[in-house]
Symmetry: C2
Subunit: 210 residues, 2 copies
Amino acid sequence: MGEGSEAARARVAAVSPAPVAADADGGPVVHRAAQARIIAAALGLFARHGVGGTSLGMIADEIGVTKAAVYHQFKTKDEIVLAAAEAELARLRAVVDEAEAQPTRKRARDALITGIVALAVESRHSMGVVLRDPVIVGFFTDHREFQHTMDRMCRLLVGDATTHEARVSAAMLIAAISGAVMHPFVAGLDDATLRAQLEQLARRFLRLPG
Amino acid sequence: MGEGSEAARARVAAVSPAPVAADADGGPVVHRAAQARIIAAALGLFARHGVGGTSLGMIADEIGVTKAAVYHQFKTKDEIVLAAAEAELARLRAVVDEAEAQPTRKRARDALITGIVALAVESRHSMGVVLRDPVIVGFFTDHREFQHTMDRMCRLLVGDATTHEARVSAAMLIAAISGAVMHPFVAGLDDATLRAQLEQLARRFLRLPG
DNA sequence: GTCTATAGACCGATAGAC
DNA sequence: GTCTATCGGTCTATAGAC
């Protein structure tokens, strides 16, 4: 009963050798290799079944171990959800960091768009849904680091303007990029074409030369 | 809802000997009052906890009955999920119907934008997430009615053009509207302001006079 | 239509051997 | 670090009384 067939599990190819996710201001979020494999598996399953529809047994199966092995790395399921969400946030923050390092405002905005589009297209079939899951949204509503990253993105996109139009513009652009990659309208497009079109249209939306 | 519910999936076509009206082109999506209450409760819970994180007991509690009473209206949880998703789809289809009834192309496109924005803003805090839940997305990937409604929306937005740019434009616009309403950037805006800004920016994106 | 009661599976989580 | 084994709880779904 219960987990009777855990012994006979096919091993899945291991992903993502990169074990790290550190940052300047938000605190180091470094993981061991075993933890990184769990997070990678969890992100894929969260995207396919949602957080609430993903069990620890499914995560364990995905990487070919038992639940107990997963619990040796994370004390609770919530810790896995949080770690996975923060891993996604770290990728976003890396893009924002790089954009802010640009010498001019225009180039910074340009770099941000390129980075976000690349991130979205890269994960068009796997993750990317994750940051929209109700459970993850709940985790982030009080998450300082998340709020801060979002504010930085907003500033890069529309400057210091705090008009309604500016804020709605920024929200629309981010939603447009991250949501369009999964839309059935673009299901037939290859990654390069999709990326190019998204960048062009995003820059047009911000009245940039593209 | 794990992997063990294939039974309900095949039952899709066999619904409703039901009481009243059918739709012009689409499906008979009319439910009894008891079913409608279940669907309404389910949509709210799906938006807050995700489909996978919502149990039949939660739905039953929400409307003040027991699980058995819910099972008297729907044979499986999957049937509830499908009915809830199709209820949301019906609202979208109503907007598309109304837009297509406009005399000119420009007014049709205008009506579609107004309708979609109104729909998104109306459900900015409750539902609306629903159509993006992984489980619902899975239901709709093979759903003829859904595909058809999406094609009609695409045609209204960008005409008969089948260029990459046109399709990506349409996908971005829809994603922008439905995603922006939940974005933290616009959390402080009232509904009327948000609606006005979204419509203005959407029309600008399509190079319409705003 | 609604209830109580229950079956059987799966869930998150823990203990302890190797 | 991974395993086996298990606990108590919740899940979907059914049976049958009112």
